[in-house]
């Protein structure tokens, strides 16, 4: 077993459980996530995929009464340690949401704002252009950078949200069903983009789309409610995507990925 010191791992969870009040939504997750790989989290609705994803950048902190037990380790530091600043955690672990949520500012400002609050001092025009090129949006918006981000299509808005995330150069990018509100062509663009991004970023993506998980990810975590009536979700199987889809160990995984769920 590797430890968190091993450089090829971006992040590790140890006995991670996540609670909303007294309700344990996710229980006992142990995962080692490799650097510069795409890890997909799949599983039926309500099993805690978003909850787990949002634990990585401490977004659940905003839910009153939520708390975690166990650890999430990043380069040896527990993200939930008492000396950790959640703002700094979010600066190094970016997030793209299910519904595109650009700021009601110009396209340019959407990217510049995040960079500015993160203390970026370099050439802003250059950063905006590079981020937009990185998210494959530049050609479509280069002449309308001062227009409101709300004048873009949903797929363009989502790519803008990816652009603003990579502009602050996090080491990990979390994506919660980033393409579920998009048409197949925009979806394909986002998927191609992820392949491009993974050269330099570690990506964790939640998806309901089995083909998408199979197409884009290197590793897959299968989540499921544990049967014992507790209504808590957990990761029942975590391995290479190829293996999850062709030769899963757990019968429930096999049923789920082949569509014979329930």
């Amino acid at each position: 077993m590797q430890t968190n010191e091993t450089p090829e791992y971006a992040i590790e969870t140890k006995d991670l459980s996540i609670f909303y009040g007294a309700f344990k939504a996710v229980s006992d997750v142990n995962m080692l996530l490799e650097k510069q790989k795409i890890t997909a989290i799949i599983g039926p609705s309500g099993c805690g995929k978003s909850t787990l994803l949002r634990a990585f950048n401490r977004m659940n902190d905003f839910v009153p009464n939520s708390h975690v037990t166990g650890e999430i380790l990043m380069r040896g530091q527990n993200l939930y340690g008492s000396n950790i600043d959640p703002v700094e955690v979010r600066r190094s672990i970016g997030m793209v949401f299910q519904k595109p949520n650009p700021f009601p500012k110009s396209i340019y400002e959407n990217i510049a704002w995040g960079a500015r609050i993160n203390g970026f001092k370099g050439n802003m025009d250059e950063l905006v252009e590079q981020s937009l090129r990185g998210s494959a949006l530049w050609e479509e918006v280069k002449d309308v950078l001062q227009k409101s981000a709300y004048e873009l299509s949903g797929g363009q808005q989502q790519r803008l949200c990816i652009a603003r995330t990579i502009a602050i150069q996090p080491s990990i990018i979390l994506m919660d069903e980033p393409a579920s509100a998009l048409d197949p062509i925009s979806t394909l663009r986002i998927e191609e983009l992820m392949q491009e991004l993974k050269k330099n970023y570690t990506i964790i993506i939640v998806t309901h789309n089995m083909q998408q998980a199979a197409r884009v990810s290197d590793y897959t975590a299968m989540m499921m409610l544990d049967k014992e009536g507790s209504r808590s979700g957990t990761v029942i199987e975590f391995s290479e995507t190829k293996r999850i889809f062709t030769n899963p160990k757990d019968k429930r995984t096999e049923d789920y990925v082949t569509g014979r769920f329930g």
Partner: protein
């Protein structure tokens, strides 16, 4: 149990013909009438104002040049310069907004972004009770508390009646209104915007000031406009605390009479219909109306310029 919904019994016979819906048309006409009525009443007020003011301007002694280009207002002895009343209104209102906008916005930001749900649900009703205090109480609060306070800080230069204490207390009066309306506007900003900002590594303060506030600016602007209108139109506080006698000055520590204070004082005395004092009040009222209108338009333009639309 059998699920009858799934059996789809079609309990309504198929009938696609046009129906009479008397309730609908009654409501529709009532709404229409109320709309027309409110417009009509506004027009009638402006008409009445304009008609009486015209009597004033038709007086051979009154000229527009005197009205707008001189700075003394004593219609009884032929001094027709409106400015002393206008400057007093502008000074007291500016002080009121200067006090209430930052404090009101800060309170609103605290309530919507920082306070726990429990703190919010106790603090907001208290704020709204403040808005129910009669203005005469505020007036004497200005005269008997704020003025001595200002005098103890700034010394002799503060007159017994002065614009500063009236303006500050007016600001306190408007504060709950601005805070409450702004809080509504801030709370209406979708959570997804805040999450987007936090996920970029923004602090709570950066998120509140740079993302939530700009997105709520149309609501905050509405609060500002109502606040300005309340300040310009407020009568009791300025009548009690700001001084009775037109005085052309911007010095907040001096006594000066506002347009509303002037109307209240003059109309409280014996006035013969058609006297110059009587018709002059309508000219002042018309001016008051114009000042309110212009300031509202300006704030609308300003807000529209800085607002960030999220729909």
């Amino acid at each position: 149990m059998k699920n009858t919904i799934m059996e789809n019994k079609n309990f309504r016979p198929l009938d696609l013909k046009k129906k009479m819906r008397p309730g609908e048309s009654v409501i529709q006409s009532l709404l229409f009438i109320s709309g027309v009525l409110s417009i009509f009443i506004t027009v009638a007020i402006v008409y009445e104002l304009g008609k009486e003011a015209l009597l004033f301007f038709n007086n051979p002694d009154v000229t527009l040049t005197k009205f707008f280009a001189t700075t003394q207002w004593q219609p009884g002895i032929g001094l027709f310069g409106i400015w002393p009343l206008v400057t007093a209104t502008l000074t007291t209102s500016a002080i009121a907004i200067f006090v209430s906008l930052p404090l009101g916005l800060a309170a609103a930001l605290f309530l919507s972004e920082y306070a726990t749900p429990k703190a919010r649900s106790t603090l907001k009703p208290i704020l709204e009770v403040l808005a129910g205090i009669p203005t005469v109480v505020y007036g004497y609060f200005a005269l008997l508390f704020m003025t001595p306070l200002l005098q103890s800080i700034f010394g002799e230069s503060v007159q017994v009646y002065n614009m500063a204490s009236a303006g500050i207390v007016m600001g306190i009066m408007i504060l709950p209104l601005i805070a409450s309306m702004s809080e509504d506007a801030l709370s209406a900003v979708p959570r997804s915007l805040r999450e987007g900002a936090y996920a970029m590594g923004a602090t709570k303060f950066e998120t509140s000031i740079q993302v939530v506030l700009p997105a709520s600016l149309s609501g905050v602007g509405a609060a500002l406009i109502i606040g300005i209108s309340r300040a310009i139109g407020e009568t009791m506080i300025v009548a009690i605390a700001s001084g009775s006698g037109p005085n052309f000055t911007f010095n907040p520590f001096k006594a000066a009479e506002t347009m509303t204070g002037h109307i209240a004082r003059i109309s409280g005395g014996d006035l013969s219909y058609n006297s110059i004092d009587y018709t002059s009040l309508f000219a002042v009222a018309l001016m008051l109306f114009l000042v309110t209108l212009v300031l509202n338009l300006i704030s609308q333009v300003v807000v529209e310029r800085f607002r960030e639309k999220y729909e």
